[in-house]
């Protein structure tokens, strides 16, 4: 199973990429564990998380092909 992870705004400077593919993580908790190892500075930032363009507020199981995005506070206008 693979999921696509997207970073936006200031978080692209933490991850150094806009997008990455991660294999074999079952849920959001697993993904956060993986990302906190790769990017320890991620924990310093405020962000929301969306799965398939819907913001989620608790742990969620993933299915193959899910798109998970890390969204810093919006700043439109």
């Amino acid at each position: 199973m693979k999921i696509e992870v997207l970073f936006f705004g200031v978080l692209t400077e933490v991850s150094k990429v806009d997008k990455l593919v991660i294999h074999d993580v079952k849920n959001l908790e697993g993904l956060m564990n993986e990302l906190n190892i790769r990017y320890p500075d991620l924990q310093k930032y405020t962000f929301q998380i969306s799965v398939n363009r819907e913001i989620i507020h608790k742990n969620k199981s993933f299915k193959d092909g899910d798109e998970v995005a890390f969204l810093p506070p919006f700043a439109g206008g």
């Binding site: 363009r53 995005a69 810093p72 919006f74 700043a75 439109g76 206008g77």
Partner: protein, 145 residues
């Protein structure tokens, strides 16, 4: 302006777009009022540095859904509303250029004013857009609304 998704456009929004929109909707004889908002990039001074431009990025696939929800909500509240246009820039917008256009058309002025104001607030809260202020000395800072 190149359209990315229906609500996002590459680069600054031209002031003439307002005239084009009025021309477009003037043919609707139920319309009695237009209200619009244009957001312009300010040359703020931050710690002795002056802003040169803002570079906007967006979660493009999510913007359309959010814009659709905003419009649905406002058309539910304001039964006088005829049309609501939302345009936001992505990419570089220099100081003195326009990055946001909201345009409301209604039968009477009260709902055009209210719908326009509420849409601007909702765009700022809900549009997945981020802005990087770039200063004249080439440094930058990510800003929140």
């Amino acid at each position: 302006m190149k359209t990315i998704v229906p609500y996002l456009f590459h680069g600054p929004i031209k002031p003439s777009e307002i005239a084009n929109l009025i021309e477009k909707y003037s043919g609707n004889r139920d319309a009695g009022a237009y209200s619009f908002f244009l957001g312009q990039v300010r040359a703020d001074r931050v710690g002795g540095k002056r802003v040169r431009e803002i570079v906007y990025t967006a979660y493009e696939d999510m913007v359309a859904g959010e814009a659709g929800r905003i419009k649905e909500e406002l058309f539910d509240i304001y039964d006088d509303l005829i049309h609501l246009e939302i345009r936001h820039s992505v990419g570089s917008v220099k100081t003195g250029e326009i990055s946001l256009l909201v345009f409301a058309v209604s039968r009477h002025r009260e709902q055009a004013f209210k719908a326009c104001n509420e849409t601007v607030e909702k765009v700022k809260q809900k549009f997945p857009v981020w802005k990087k202020e770039v200063y004249e000395d080439e440094t930058h800072e990510w800003k929140e609304s």
